[in-house]
Structures are given as C-alpha cells and as structure tokens.
Symmetry: C2
Subunit: 900 residues, 2 copies
C-alpha cells in the first residue's frame, strides 16, 4: 500500500459533514436559500455591527433532512444546536433554564420566501418554574416574569402543542373578570400565577402530557414544530397557489430574548424607512412602550406613531433613525424593520424589503434615482407594471368602513358608485336625468353597449375577465366586476341578491373593479391619475424600451385618452362597435337582411357617412400617428335581435291566434336569424369570410376610410390609416380581400384626385395563419396577432363558455399554470407566434408585427413579445402606462439575457 | 482577333428558332406537353407504322406565343404550316382547294389534358365551290360531296365563326320537311345544294362577311379559333376547377380527311381494347357503316356493336383487332380508339388510355398482372382507391331510366329506395312494420340516430360531406345524400318538394349516395361486394403497404364488418353513441342533471352494465386485435332535449296559464339546458374536460372496459382494449386523466384478481396538443390524430356551420384548393401533425401514432400520413378496402421519392 494516498475521484474524498447551524455572525444576506429571509436579514445586520440580540439559525437543509427522514433530526444536528446554544449562553452570560440568570430565546421560522401558514414565533422559551424565579429575581419584577411565563405557556401550547387558542383566551377573560381588570396589564402577580397554573393544566388535559419543564425539550419541540409546519395544509396550499417549490424547506431562528415590557424605558415597534403608502421619505411606523411585539399586533393598546418616540426617548430615536438610514443604503431599498427597546437599549430584530402601494413604489423608485441610490434600470425593475394600472383609476378610500356583499372577478379596475339598473335602455334613461348608475346584467352583449356608456360601471354574474363586459369596460376605462357567481340577478323583478342583501333598481351600491368587490351603499373614493412621479418613471421607461406601445380604441374619446397616456398609435380600431349604435343599427339590419346585392348596397350607402365621420374623428385625434382599422369582424347575427326572444314572441303571437303584420314581421325576422344562426359562431361566417362573400361591405368601409383621410388632408391634418383584414387562415383569402381593398382605394383616389399610401395587413389569429405566415406575408404589409382568438383556437377553448365554467377550476386546481387569456401561453400560442414572426419576415423583411389581443397589456405577455422581436404591443388605453413600463422591463430582461 | 471563337456563355450562342410544327412522323408519345394528348397519340401510332391518315401538329408553344401576342401568329408559324401542308399535299397527292383532286383536312384541338370547353373538331376543311366539284368528280358521288360541303359550312360556321347552331338546324329541318325526308341521308343533291347556299347566307348575315372561300383562310381561321378557345370562359372555368395550369396551351392537329361515309364498305367507330364497364378482355365498341364520326355521337342512327363488324367486313375487323392488341401492348393499358374505314381501308384516328368503371379498373389491373403485361406495383397504381368504395355498395342499375329531381352532395355511397319519412321515431315505427324507409331531415343530430339505424338511407337538405348525417351514415355504411339545397323540406306537413315533384310521407323514392342524386320512384339497383378480383388486388396492396388500416366502429356489427373488410384493429370506438340509445338516455340525463356526486354516481351505476356489454361485444368481435376506446367526448347538452323546443313548450304552457307539474318539469329542464348551453360548444365543456370535472364518469367507463376485458378472458377470448383520452390541450390534463384511469384499472384488477396491461393514449386534435406533443408524450402510450376537430381549430372553421355556407363557395371560387375536411391540409394541419410525430417520438420512441379523423379514409390524406411516418390510419368500415389500396399507393410513392 502506498504511503501517500493518490486522490483519484472527488467522490472518493470524504465529504465534511454539512454545517447545519450558523451563528448570526457567520451568515449573510447572500445565504437566503439556506438561512431563510429572516435568518439572512439578522445575519446581515449582525455583520454590519448593528445591535442585534445574538442567536443562531438552523438551516433549511436541516429541515429537509428532518422531513425526508419522516421527523427524525438528522445526525449531528442536535450536537450542533447544543454547541451554538452554549456559545449563545457564553456571550450573554446567561443559561437556558438557569434559576439565577436564565437565558430566554425566541424561536421563529423563516423560509426563503415570506410564507403565511407556517409556524410563526414562540417567545420567552426557556421559562419553567425555576427559571421563572431566576427571571423575577434578576429583573426585580416578579409580575413581568409571571406575565412572560403565562404568555410562553399560552404560545407554546397553542403553536407547538396544538392546543386550541380559545381555551386559553377563555381562562384569561375569566381571570380578568374575577380581578375586575380592564386589560391583562392590570392583572396582579397572584392572578398571573394562578393563570399560569391553569394554562399548564389546560395543556396537560389536551395533550395528555405535562407541559415540558426541561428547556432543551422545549427548544427541540419548537424546532420540530417549525419543521413540521412546512408541510402543514395551509402552507402547502399557499405554495401551490404561488408556485413555490415544496423542496425549499424552512430555516429556524433561535435568538436571545430582549424585553420591551420592562418599563417605560422599554418598548417595541415596527417601522419603515419611507412611508409605504405614499413613498414619502421619512421614517414611518408605530411603537408601544412597555410592551412585547405581539401587543402591537394584537391591537389591545393603540400604538403610537414613531415620530413621538423622538420626544419620549430621543437618544434611542436618533440611533434608530441612523440605523434605518444605514439599512436602506445597505439594501438600496425601503426596509420594513422590527425593533425592541430594553431599558433604553435599542435592539434590531428583523429587517426586510418593504411592501408598498403602487403610488409609493413609483415615488420611491423615482426618488431613489434622484438620490443616486439606485440606477434608472433598477428603478424600472422595482415597480410592478400591473400596479401602474391601479394608479389611473379612482379607488375605494382605504380608510373607509365597507360591507362587502359579494366578490367577483376584478375585470376592469377602479371604483364606481351608483344606482342599480338592470337594462341598457333604463341605464341610458336614468343617466340622462343626471343620476349615476351601475349596469347590472347576467352577462352583456353588444346590445348593451349604450347602457355601458351611460353607466359608471358594470356588474355581471357570468363571464370571465375577458368576457364582453370586461373587455368593453376596460376599453372604456370603466370599472367592471364580472363573473360574480354569488350574485342572484333577477332581471324581471329588477333586483339582485348577494350576501343576504337585496339591491333593487335605484338602490345605491358600489363596485370595486380593482379587487372584484361588490359593496353595499355608497363608499368614499379617492382620485388618482398619472402623477408627476409616474410621468418621470414612464419617461425613463420610454428611453429603455424597444417595443412601441399602441392602444386599442374605437372612438375619438378613447383615442385621445390613449394618446394622453402615451400611445404611439392605434393598434386596433374595431369598426363593428360603431355599427351597434342606435342610429345605425336599423341600416345594419337592413344590410344584413337584404336578399339582393342592390338592396345591400343601398343600406350600406346609408351607413357610409356614419363610418366616414367615425374615421374622421379617430384619425384626427391620432393625427400623425398610425391608426390600424380592422374591417368588420363579428358574425352578422350579432347585429340582429336575440333568437330566443324572437322565438318566444312568435310563440306568444301564435298562441294568441293573432295572425297579422306583427306576427308576420316577427316570423320573418326569426327566419332570418335562424338562417344566420350558427352552432359555433366563433368559427363561422365572420372576419374576412364576410368580405369575400359580400365584397360590398368592405368596399363601403374602405371607401369611408379613404374619404375620411382625404377630407382630413384637405384640412391639413395628417391621417395615417392602415387597413387590417381579420380572421385570415389562408393566403388566398388575404390576396382577394386586398384586391377589393386596393380597387376601392384606387377608385376613391381617382374620384378625389389624390394619392393614397395606405398599408394593408392582416390579423394573425387563426392558427393556420401563423403556420403559413410565409405565404400570407406575400400579401400583408403588417401582421397583428389577435391572441384572444388565437388562444381560443390553439387551446380549443371558448373563452365565453370556459371562463365562468371549467377554466376557473383548471387554474385553481393547478391543471393550467395560468389563465391563458390573461397571460400568453408560451408553449402553444407563443410558439405559433414565433413561427409567424420568423417566416413572415423571411418573406418580407420590412414586415411590421404587433399584437392587439388583450395580452398586449399584460406584463408577462409583453415579455414574450419582446423576446419574439415584435414591433409593438397594443392594449386598452388605461393599460398603456403599465405597458410602457412592462416593455422597458422586458427590454432590460432581454438585453441582460443577451449579455449572458 | 482569334480565329477560333472561344465559347464563353451558352447565352452568347444564337438559339435556333424553335420548331412550331411537327409532322406526325416527327412526334412521339413522350412529346405530350408540346403536341397535346391527341397529337402525341397519332404521332406514336404513325411511328408504330399503323394506318394513320397523314397530318401535322402545331405545338402548344405556338398557341402560347399567339395568346401572348394577343392573337398574332408568331413569326415563322405560317411559313412552317405552309411547308408542312405542302408536304401533306405531296404525300397525299392532293391539294387543298384543288378543283381536280382536293385535299380535305380535319382540324382538332388537343391539349396535354383532355379538356371540355375547348374547340373540338372541324371536318372537311378545304371545301369551297371549286373543290366541291373536284371532290364530286373524284369520288363520283356528288351527293356525298354536297353533303360534306354543307356539313363543313355548318361546322365551321358554328365552331370557328360563332354562328348559333340553331340557325343551321332550323334550315336543315325545313329542308327535310319540304323534301319529305325522314333523315338528312335522304336529302337529294339538289336539296343539299340549296341547303349549302342557305348556310352560306346564314353565315354572311351573322358575321357580315362572306363565308371564306380560300382554303388557306379557312385553315388559319380554324387554327386561330382553336388557339382562342383555350381562353374561352368554359375552358378557364374547367381548368380552375381541376387545377390545371392556364399556362399549358393547346396544340392543333391538321390531318388529311378520310371518309367513312363513302358507301357500305366505309364506316366509322370507337372501340376499347377491353370492356370499360366490366374489364372483360374483348374488343368492345360501336360503329356505323357509311357515316362520319359525328354521326356516331349524334345518335341519329343507332350504332352497331363492334363484333358485328367481323361479319360485315371481316378483313377490316381482323386488322383492327390486331392493331388494338398492338396498341394495348404498346401502351400497356386499355386503349380507347377512334377509327374510320374508307372504302375497305382502315384508318386509326386516335388512341388514348380508356376511362373505366371501378369494377373494370380492378379486373383489368389484376388480369394484366396475370398476363405479365404490368407489374404488381403498376397494377396498384392503376386503380383509383376512392373508386374502390363504390364497389362495396349497391348501385343504381346503369341501364335504368331514371328521373333525377334534385342533386345534393354524395355523402355516403350506395343506392337506397324506400318510403319518405320525416322523423326518426316514425322511421323506426314504419320500418318495424317491415317497410323500407328513407329518413328525410333538414339536418340530423344525435337524436335521429335510431331513425337512421332503421332507415335504408338518409337525405338532408343542409350540411356537408362531413355533417352529422354524412359521418354517421358512412359509419353505418348507409347511403346518404346531404346538403341538397334544391330540396324544400316541410317537416310539419311531412313532405318535400324538388324539381317540381312533391314527395309525401310514405311515397317511394330513391337516393344515390354515390353521385348525390335524388330520384323519383323506385329504381332497379345492382348488387356489389368485394369481388375475387378486388380481393386479389387488396392482397397485393397488403404486401406493399407499411401503414396499418384500422376502422372506426362503435358497435359489434360495425366491428365485424370492418374486420371482414380487412381492418387490423379499431382506431376509434366512440362511447357516446351508446349513450344515445333509447334505453340508456334517461340514465344519461339523470347523470347530467344530478346536483350531487352521489346522485351522479347512482345514475352512472345504472349505465355501467350497458357500457360493459357494449365493450364485451366489440372486444369479442375484434378478438386479438386492438380496440381503441375513446372516453366520452361531446358536450353534455347533446344528450338533453332541444333548447328551442323546450322554450316553445314553456311559453305555450305559460300562455295557456297552466301552472302545474308539467310546466314545472319543463321549466326545470329548460333551466338545466340553459345552464349547460354554450356559445361555442365545439370549444366548450367536453372531452377530457368532462372527466376532470366529473371523474366519476370516466371511472364508470374505465370500469366497464376493464370488467368487459376480464369477462372475455374468463371465456378465453383475447381482448385488446386501449383507452383514449379526447381533447387534451395541455400535458397536465392527460397526466391527471391517466391517474384516474390507472387507479380505476388497479381497483378492478384487485377486485377481479387479474392483471391488466391496457395502453392509455390521447387524441391529438387541439392545435396546442400538437405544439406540445413532446410534453404530452410523457403521459401517452399512443397518439391518434383527430383531424376533424384539428382542422376546425387550425382553420378556425366550424364544419357544421361552414360546409353548407361559405366553405362551398370557398372551394368553388378557388379560394381554397380543396375542402380541408375531405383532404388533409398539408401546410397547416399537416405541419402540426409533423411536429407531433417528431416531438412525440423524441420523448417516447415507441409511441404509436395513428389518425382516426374522417381523413383516415381519404387517399390524399393517407399519402400525407405515410410521409409523416404514422403507424396506422383508421376510417369507417366501408372505406377500409379503399384505404388498404391507398396506403399501398402512398407507400409506392414514398419509396420512389426516397430513391430519387
């Protein structure tokens, strides 16, 4: 045998046993995965020399080993804990369970992600009947010691031993009552001593074991309880919902107790380095003197605002303020801190990045750039682009007391209060009298649009976030709560019922489209808008982003609003909503019911001036910027009366044996509707198919566009219309549609003596269009992804049918990672989009490609669009600011990836 | 300068002027593109030394040059024609227009593809008032010459000069009447002379020019007319419909006339080398003595069967028989020949590959292999696999006299005669009385299935070749004519009207699903089946093909039939048709309407024995072969009563102010139906979505399968069930469905003390499934392409809505090259299938992949499946034989391609 062993394989080396416990001094912020968020935070503060009570952290590895071994502590763990505990005792000069100078510790869980549902905190661990006496002697405050003791039994009993909290609460109340004490602070030592005994007895009765007296047993019991809580039902559910892996595990923090309840020079509190509601740069928080942490939370005494601490304990406040500033600089973000003051000595117990409101997030990001604390790119990454939407709408005053009677889907953000109205005509009528109304429907359809225009907001009991109500309301920037399944709407009796409350026509109520809440009565709201800070942030975003942001808008008002919000064009101007207006619908119906081309042309001639005026308005509002006008898209029966209503009417009239003009007319209309009725209208006679069968319809629309452009040019306004053909699935459809379009443009150009240079392109929404994009691009100057329909067809899911039914279950049950109508599906729809971009541009390198589906306003989807190299995203006007930010974030992520 | 010029570029060489005219001696069969089919045929015969009247062909290049120059003959063309004409005159010893010995020629068009709508033939060209005399003198038959002359003016006037045929016909009738002549053969010379003068006058009146006397003008006029006819309206329409390029052009054949009308030793006829109706090996055809070609076609005299020629002119017949055999050997296929006998001398005018019936095609192919005339592979290529379908169904006796009253889509082949019945229940009732019925509906739905089972055939006025009626009828092997738009069906009055005929309930009529004809009254039909020849051919196909052929079958009878036709398994056994049967529907409805899982389970328990028996029957019929059973697929409301009927019923009852149990029940059912009603049921709650929401449904189905398998094993029958999950769009859907399936299988295995090895796989029909096939294959043991739904979703086209409406227009207008529901779309659906095959097999190399959509029986689609490397195609039982052949043809094409 050789004397010098030759190392052959790394695996042949003996691995050192992994370290499972770290003193706070040994850890750092970068060890978050192993020490958890809390452990990493206290370690980092300890390293920075801040006053942190000493302690140690048991790693997530230890937790995983414990759980893997079905509840056995891994080899060596307890030895390591003993070792670190001995160190802690050495440094503090106290001993766990000592009857002279006992060490008390807190035990807290701390995973890498903040996670409700796990065991939180056990304070005062180490107390038993002997150390209780030691604590009383050492502090000279027997009442304090007894109070700490009964609190410990209560907490440990509830959290570690699983005894119901109510059993302790009942005893506490009984003790207070018999002592005529208003609060527990008024309980005398004798009463507390009796209470502690009672508590011990409760534990014994319910666990059939004595309350653990040995502090080591207390500690290992608490550690095991923390570990076990990782697999608690609520914790698992939370992780599933938030897509946090189950394989992370939690750490355990064991820390020497400090006491805020040792008199008026002691206290405890929580504070932020800036105001988390407004973003204002000032220390913001609350504290209580002579109290322990749980008292602040429990709300038994009202905490004081932190600035009053400056008067109460000026030196402590000054130190705290300095520490807060250091921490914010250190972490380069707003901190949410916990602290305790023990007899004038400040201790920091925790620090973490602070949650904040949308408004605060924006202000903080902008301010920190000005303060040179963070870079522009960091500032852009710091703000959640979805939150930006919320800044643009009225919101329920967060201070208001409200009664929520139902909760539906947050379909279009903002709050609205008004009288309940149950049909569109009444809504219009009552709104004309100057009253604010909310339109309540089971679901809406294009017939309801005039009522939606008149209303402050819309409430429906059916349909998802992309139902007609939701899409139209978002487009209008009106609040909408959709798919409120708890709502029982009775359209005949004109009332709805929810949460035991009946709301009749005219009754005032409130909806909050930001959260989906339906609220009884009127509620105070707060105004919002694009603040100066937001504008600054968005301008930073504009410098970074590559994607252009367009808006979907069908009216001059929407177009103007979109432009104010920073839209660089209209990516989707639908022409069918215009058809729905009351003064046009009769002509539209006449057009549809025409048997001969001649009659159809006559009806279309009536519509032409309306359409032209629509386009004049929008093109003028967007002057100099492109307006992509989509030719008629929906199936024609959407413009006709409801089939079911007609069927009932005809049956009635027949039953009444009233032959006559009325029956004849109704029968005629019913036949026409039946003729056009389709089993799956989504996949029926619509889009470019209409124009190929009835070219005169798109001839009228193109003529209206061309004449509008010509009129504006005469007025020296620069119109930039583009014409988009919907629902193309085969290149030949587009080639022929374009022939008709170009012929009409040529005709109008000749009549008007002008030249047009109007781009013609197509929606890419049918999967086959994406798969044959190389062929289609031969006839298209631009592509616009209609990802709503594309998602429906690629997934085989009808959005209208699915969102209220199985799709919700699919998402909550985790069958789908997300609702594909909210966030673009990268593997299916995204893959098709990729083909279309690549192959479309291979045919026509200058091809402009954008997206105009609902996804255009969604941050995750925008990131996909950035990766695919789209030219623009188009979304509803109110989502434009958020999209500007999201596009910048997507760009940052993309360029970062490219660097790697 | 160098003495020897160095050739640098081919382009620097001077190209010889292209040759535009070819003597028959110069051409050959391989020059079809330039000489057309007819020109190549006569050239080939001339080269073979057969007696062909001399002549020359003007090439398609000349035609294209002429058309490109907007009607100017290309440079040099007329010189070449003159030259070849001079040669023709030399060889024949006659001269065009000569008053002594005039040459007469025929001028015929001849494109590469036989093409109606183009100018056909001008005979006797070269006659004028002088050559007429020459011809009369030379033949010694003035009557003959005058008759030829008036025929020439008539033909030339009509075909070349565009004079209406009727004008000549009227004059001819008048002449016959005033001469008291029964036929034109009885007209005397004087009458013919007057008639010719009259004809010339008609031409002059209608063209405002004299009839051309100069034979050269006649010839160039005829050539130009042939060229022009290439761009005639009907010719263009024909090419568009048949996808023949417009850029081919037509050739022109100029040939010395021979005369069949020179007495009883002259004649003309057409004949085939074998019987084109039966394939029998004997010369088959017709002829007329003393007649010109047009007389045979015109039907004025009844032609004689060709075998009588053996007695009439034995030498001529013997020569003809020899030539026929030579031609068949030369072309190695049955020939369709035209010939003329001039004074005992036989001339061959044309030969081409003969069209033939399906039965003949099969017999000829098989016989020719036996005769060693062609190889097995050639035989397989010779038979149109689509035609094989026709051999398996009763057909209208081709000799029967019939009155067609309407024509619809040939939706399911075969002929059926029976009494008209207008609803399914009556159909069942009347059929039970032993009467044959045909079910007539506007369109059918699953409620009608029992009526379809009872009926001999189905006739609908709406819906396409893949409508419910068509698909179900094909599945049952029953004749169906669908989408008969001319049919006015009145369900209330129980009658339909078509072509002026009213058919009432009970009236006998006939449908021919092979051609789409609706026929008045009863019509004699002829039996068919897999003949010995067909069986031989299919056995050859089985040796060649790689693809397995499965069948779609839902009943033991269908399964047995499929097996008889050669199916190697069941690729799709639908389970929902079973639910539709009258004894089960109440349980199914109870299951659907159940509010609680418990009630649903109780209803399912009632269904279990039915399902088990169904599976026992099918698995037994297919013993030893795989049966792929698809779990429930359609939306549940398909099993409930019609919404519209319920709505009318409820309205009636309310109008009658009859509150009570009946109204209550109707209202309850209406509410339930409304609850389940969907805007786009195709994309709604169906397929695996049902099983994920209501696992107890698929638990019942899987249990039925497992228990059936177990029962058969006890009876020593080998069942091979496989379980297929429909409508998967995301891997997680399949993973969870499979969990439920496996758990149930395990449960039943435990109960029965057996082990199951049942494969679980999925339909690939949702586009996203194809795009994520790599993920889905992790959970699937097989894939089966559901290309019906996949085409719907990939194209965004609802088949039910589109086929009666825009899809038909799309195909006839040429927007789509074909109906994608008949022939797989290679660029869209085919591309998705390619991804699924490649990526699915990358995950799971042993993955079995097949197709079970309607396309599985279509030859073009089978070719795509072969290219994509599928393992099998599955089609309706009656299409199995055709598919066996198509798969062999696809294999031959594929291996050929691979060789290249």
């Amino acid at each position: 045998m050789a004397k010098t062993p030759v190392r052959t394989h790394p695996s042949s080396e003996r691995k050192p046993a992994p370290k499972l416990v770290y003193d706070f001094e040994e850890g750092s912020a970068s060890m978050r995965d192993r020490l958890g968020g809390k452990g990493a935070g206290v370690a980092e503060m300890t390293r920075a020399g801040l006053p942190v009570p000493p302690g140690f952290t048991i790693t997530t590895d230890a937790c995983l080993a414990y759980l893997g071994a079905k509840g056995r502590f891994p080899d060596g763990l307890l030895d390591e804990v003993r070792e670190h505990l001995a160190g802690l005792e050495r440094r503090s000069g106290k001993r766990l369970g000592d009857q002279e100078n006992p060490l008390l510790v807190s035990v807290r869980s701390g995973a890498a992600f903040s996670m409700p549902g796990m065991m939180d905190t056990v304070l005062n661990l180490g107390l038993n009947q002997q150390s209780l006496e030691g604590l009383a002697r050492r502090t000279g405050d027997r009442r304090f010691a007894l109070d700490a003791y009964r609190r410990f039994i209560q907490m440990y009993g509830r959290i570690v031993l699983g005894v119901e909290a109510e059993l302790f609460d009942v005893e506490l109340e009984r003790a207070k009552k018999s002592a005529h004490a208003g609060s527990d602070a008024e309980l005398k030592p004798a009463a507390l001593e009796k209470l502690a005994a009672k508590f011990r007895q409760i534990v014994e009765t319910h666990t059939r074991e004595a309350f653990p007296e040995d502090p080591w047993d207390q500690l290992t019991g608490a550690v095991a309880a923390v570990f076990d809580s990782w697999n608690g039902r609520r914790a698992i559910a939370y992780r599933e919902f938030n897509h946090i892996p189950h394989t992370l595990g939690t750490a355990v923090n064991v820390q020497a107790m400090v006491f805020g309840n040792m008199g008026e020079d002691s206290g405890t509190g929580v504070a932020f380095t800036r105001d988390p509601a407004t973003g204002e740069r000032r220390i913001f928080g609350e504290y209580l003197l002579n109290a322990q942490g749980e008292d602040v939370v429990a709300g038994i005494r009202t905490p004081q605002p932190i600035d009053t601490l400056e008067r109460a304990l000026p030196a402590v406040y000054a130190e705290f303020a300095k520490i807060a500033e250091r921490l914010e600089h250190h972490y380069r973000d707003v901190q949410d801190m916990e602290f305790t003051i023990e007899k004038g000595q400040l201790y920091m117990l925790q620090t973490r990045t602070a949650k904040r409101t949308a408004a605060a997030a924006v202000k903080i990001a902008v301010d920190m750039v000005a303060e040179k604390l963070i870079t522009r790119d960091e500032a852009l990454r710091r703000v959640d682009s979805e939150q930006v939407d919320h800044l643009l709408h009225r919101a329920i005053d967060p201070k208001a007391k409200i009664k929520v009677i139902a909760t539906g889907l947050a379909a279009s953000p903002g709050a609205a209060t008004g009288a309940a109205v149950f049909d569109a005509d009444r809504a219009e009528q009552i709104a004309k009298q100057g009253r604010q109304v909310i339109l309540v429907r089971i679901e809406t359809n294009p017939d309801d649009v005039h009522g939606m225009i008149a209303a402050e907001g819309v409430l429906t009991s059916r349909g998802g976030r992309t139902s007609h109500a939701a899409v139209v309301a978002r487009g209008m920037g009106k609040p909408c709560v959709a798919g409120t399944e708890d709502l029982k709407v009775d359209l005949v009796k004109r009332r709805f019922e929810a949460g035991g409350v009946v709301v009749r026509e005219g009754d005032i109520f409130t909806i909050d489209g930001t959260t989906g809440r339906v609220i009884e009565g009127a509620v105070p709201t707060v105004e919002a808008g694009v603040s100066g800070d937001l504008e600054q942030l968005l301008q930073m975003a504009d410098k970074v982003r590559r994607l252009k942001i367009y808006a979907n808008a069908d009216t001059p008002e929407d177009a103007r609003r979109a432009r104010e919000f920073g839209a660089q064009g209209i990516g989707l101007c639908r022409t069918e909503h215009m058809f729905m207006q009351q003064d046009r619908l009769p002509h539209v119906q006449r057009m549809i019911l025409a048997q001969e081309t001649k009659d159809r042309e006559a009806a279309l001639a009536e519509l032409l001036p309306f359409q032209r005026d629509d386009f004049v308005g929008i093109l003028e509002a967007m002057q100099g910027l492109p307006v992509i006008i989509r030719l008629i898209d929906p199936p024609l029966h959407e413009f006709l009366p409801s089939h079911d209503e007609l069927l009932v009417e005809v049956t009635h009239l027949r039953d009444a044996k009233k032959a006559g003009r009325k029956l004849e007319r109704a029968e005629h209309m019913l036949r026409a509707v039946e003729e056009l009725r389709e089993q799956n209208p989504m996949l029926g006679l619509r889009g470019c198919r209409l124009g190929l069968l009835f070219p005169e319809i798109i001839e009228m629309q193109v003529r209206a566009i061309a004449e509008a452009a010509s009129e504006l040019r005469r007025r020296r306004v620069k119109p930039v219309p583009e014409i988009m053909v919907p629902l193309v699935g085969h290149a030949e459809e587009l080639r022929r549609s374009r022939q008709t379009i170009e012929a009409t443009l040529k005709q109008v150009a000749k009549e008007q003596g002008v030249r047009f240079d109007i781009k013609v392109g197509t929606m890419i929404e049918v999967p086959r269009a994406a798969l044959t994009a190389g062929q289609i691009a031969e006839h298209a100057q631009f592509f616009s992804f209609g990802t709503n329909d594309m998602t429906q067809m690629t997934y085989g899911v009808s959005r209208d049918d699915a969102e209220g039914k199985f799709l919700g279950r699919y998402v909550t049950d985790g069958i789908l990672p997300a609702n594909p109508f909210e966030h673009l599906d990268p593997d299916g729809v995204g893959r098709l989009m990729g083909y279309a971009v690549t192959e479309g541009r291979a045919t026509r390198p200058a091809l402009e490609v954008g997206i105009c589906g609902e996804h255009g306003g969604d941050a995750q989807s925008i990131a996909i669009c950035e990766r695919l190299g789209l030219d623009y995203v188009s979304c509803s006007p109110f989502r434009v600011p958020g999209a500007r930010l999201a596009a910048a974030q997507a760009r940052l992520a993309q360029t970062q990836n490219q660097d790697v």
